[in-house]
Symmetry: C2
Subunit: 411 residues, 2 copies
């Protein structure tokens, strides 16, 4: 088992540079291709769930994080404020305060709720340089983040919805969730909110989780003291290649920020009521999920996620045009294809294997004459000559349906 930093030596998913700074990785083109697919998955799942998009800045005034409680509870992990004229601005430690401001920007009636705001938001951790590691521990985290604003009577259903979608995301990705964890407060001090609020929220979460987790066959483990400072949560836990446990998705109740930002809605009685806020992370952070995927698949990602899906290799110069045409057609269909025509064929095949290309399509004189390619499906046991049309069709389906690989037997 190699970890994602070892795998990255061959795969060139990300790079570190002393000038960029520790914990601030650069996503190279092959890594960005993976991330694009994950961002599309996150958006597709969010939209199917009735979320709407928002965009918010990575900075807020110091007062924003005083109001949210982050500066009181989380300052040790935050970047220092930056003076700007008479103000101080801070890189945000979380996206939720900005989403609270979006909610507060308009009046809301009970009929419009729930309102579900989704953003791929960048947030920041001033981690010590000693703990930083590849993509799994970074200082800028790009998170698929949703905040749901709902009535109390909608809270359990919204929590169940979030949990179901998070499990669906992990299933599409093929990441095995080990167990779910109900992270609660303990008897220590420092939790924001009243004891009744915590009890109510924990009960709602437990009720919501029960059914969803039973469907999925997952245990719910009780974890006192593991809550966020603003409320209890359900975390989906996975283990990485070395057995370390990570939270990959989460559904969190928050009765702190609705109070602090005075977030309300007009009820059927014409009066103002306090809204419930639920944080949910579905696909998770781009950094952590890519690290997890690389380790889970040991670099050989499912077809739809593979940075290079098809390497097209012409045997000789006479097949260059054919090869380029095939790659163009694959790209026009949304697939990621490269043409490599420099050097001996054996070396080019080794290079394609190093980059973990799914398919190696060799075009020689016979194949060119027959409008066919000789295909090696590196991950599966397939090897043979197929028509160009069939290859295009299989690749298109595997990509659009987010499949593990091509189904050579089908059709």
């Amino acid at each position: 088992m190699e970890d994602h930093r070892d795998l990255n030596r061959d795969l060139r998913v990300f790079a570190s540079d002393p000038l960029a700074g520790a914990g601030l990785p650069l996503w190279l083109p092959d890594g960005a291709a993976i991330r694009e697919e994950l961002q599309r998955l996150a958006k597709d799942l969010a939209h199917a769930d009735g979320c709407v998009d928002v965009y918010t800045p990575v900075l807020g005034k110091r007062e924003l994080f005083e109001r949210s409680g982050h500066l009181a509870k989380f300052a040790a992990d935050m970047f220092a404020p930056i003076r700007l004229g008479e103000d101080e601005v801070v890189l945000r430690p979380a996206n939720c305060p900005h989403h609270a401001l979006v909610y507060a920007a308009d009046q809301h009636s009970y009929r419009e709720l729930p309102l579900r705001l989704n953003e791929l938001g960048a947030m920041f951790r001033a981690e010590r340089s000693g703990v930083l590691s590849g993509l799994s521990r970074v200082r800028q985290i790009n998170l698929d983040d949703t905040h749901v604003f709902c009535r109390p009577d909608q809270a359990a259903a919204e929590a169940a919805r979030g949990l179901r979608t998070a499990l669906r995301a992990q299933q599409v990705l093929g990441l095995r969730v080990d167990y779910a964890r109900l992270s609660r407060r303990d008897d220590s001090d420092g939790w924001l909110g009243s004891a009744e609020q915590w009890r109510w929220a924990e009960d709602e979460l437990r009720a919501a989780a029960g059914e969803v987790l039973a469907e999925a066959g997952l245990p719910l483990v009780d974890a006192p003291g593991e809550a966020a400072f603003y409320g209890p949560k359900i975390d989906l836990q996975v283990r990485d290649g070395r057995g370390h446990e990570e939270t990959i998705a989460t559904v969190q109740f928050d009765f702190n920020q609705p109070e602090r930002f005075d977030l309300g809605y007009t009820g059927p009685d014409g009066r103002r009521h306090r809204v419930v806020m639920i944080h949910r992370g579905t696909v998770g952070s781009m950094e952590r999920v890519v690290a997890a995927l690389l380790e889970r698949y040991q670099g050989r990602l499912p077809f739809w996620l593979a940075p290079v899906q098809v390497a097209v290799l012409p045997v000789g110069e006479e097949q260059d045009a054919r090869a380029r045409d095939l790659a163009d057609r694959l790209r026009a269909g949304g697939q990621r294809a490269v043409v490599d025509h420099e050097g001996p064929l054996g070396a080019r095949i080794r290079e394609a294997r190093r980059r973990r290309c799914h398919l190696i399509a060799v075009v020689g004189p016979q194949e060119a004459a027959a409008a066919a390619v000789q295909v090696t499906d590196v991950g599966q046991s397939h090897r043979g000559v197929v028509t160009v049309e069939r290859l295009l069709e299989l690749a298109r389906l595997a990509h659009s349906e987010r499949r593990r690989g091509l189904d050579w037997m089908a059709g």
Copy 2:
């Protein structure tokens, strides 16, 4: 003529909040819908041009911007550094230094060039609060940004390609480019690079621009002293509602950063050569282009950009299910539709007009029986009853083809 801040009172594209800070607008759901479309356009154009995606952090170490020259030339507009352990990190004033690091992360051969890196990157300006204004002057700028790394013999063709694509983007958006500007150095001090480098780059740019601008029927105006500190550029200039001139797209030569970051490639002679770097902005910054679009169309955006494309209004409760079904089918086809069933029909029509919905589709008992809707196309002169199938087809085409409106006469 209303400016975009006035229009925003009805349209709710963005909000400002004192806690978020001046110049750091929040994109509300309707604004985020516009931005999503623009980001997709930017990616489509970039990919069609052979660009690959990268993602880079919004922060870099102080040394990165010392190396790039930004701290020497641009410090007054930059946010102050943040201390982090023994380092100082800075919010980036531009995306190019990070893209230079991406290029430098791998070895390059002359055969792989040009390499075109595209990112919707966030960059920062410590503008004084007095000059900030709505979306048109902000402190976090989200820019459709491409950096091309090429051989000197490819530079003119790459500049022409960038310019052509930028003009295409403005044409799709319907923004009228007033003129193109060749922004050169003048005789003052402070320009980075040698006089020969500047002369070569200005000549290449002028040659590249000639043909493209002739095709587009645009004049090229000579502007000594308007260059970037690192090289000459061609800017596409538009005028806003109040006659102010703005740069909406740009193609810039940079022979400064390739030197400073020691960016090279291996030539056919086996030796190392200096690469040429070209900055290009196609769709432009999300903030500026949305402000320009709102003013250009006075809030009534083209169909494919409209935050709410169709408002579905059931006449009575009995038509609620039909209306919801129609909206669901529109959404499944990728359109943005709302159902409004609260209050008198007249008030709901007024509300739909206030939000600049393109189509108002009323479902009464007769329409429901005939699987039809009564449609008012607010921007065009169309009004009448059409089948649901036809409405779905027209809306789908207008959206996917990025059209101004629906073509009721077609088919």
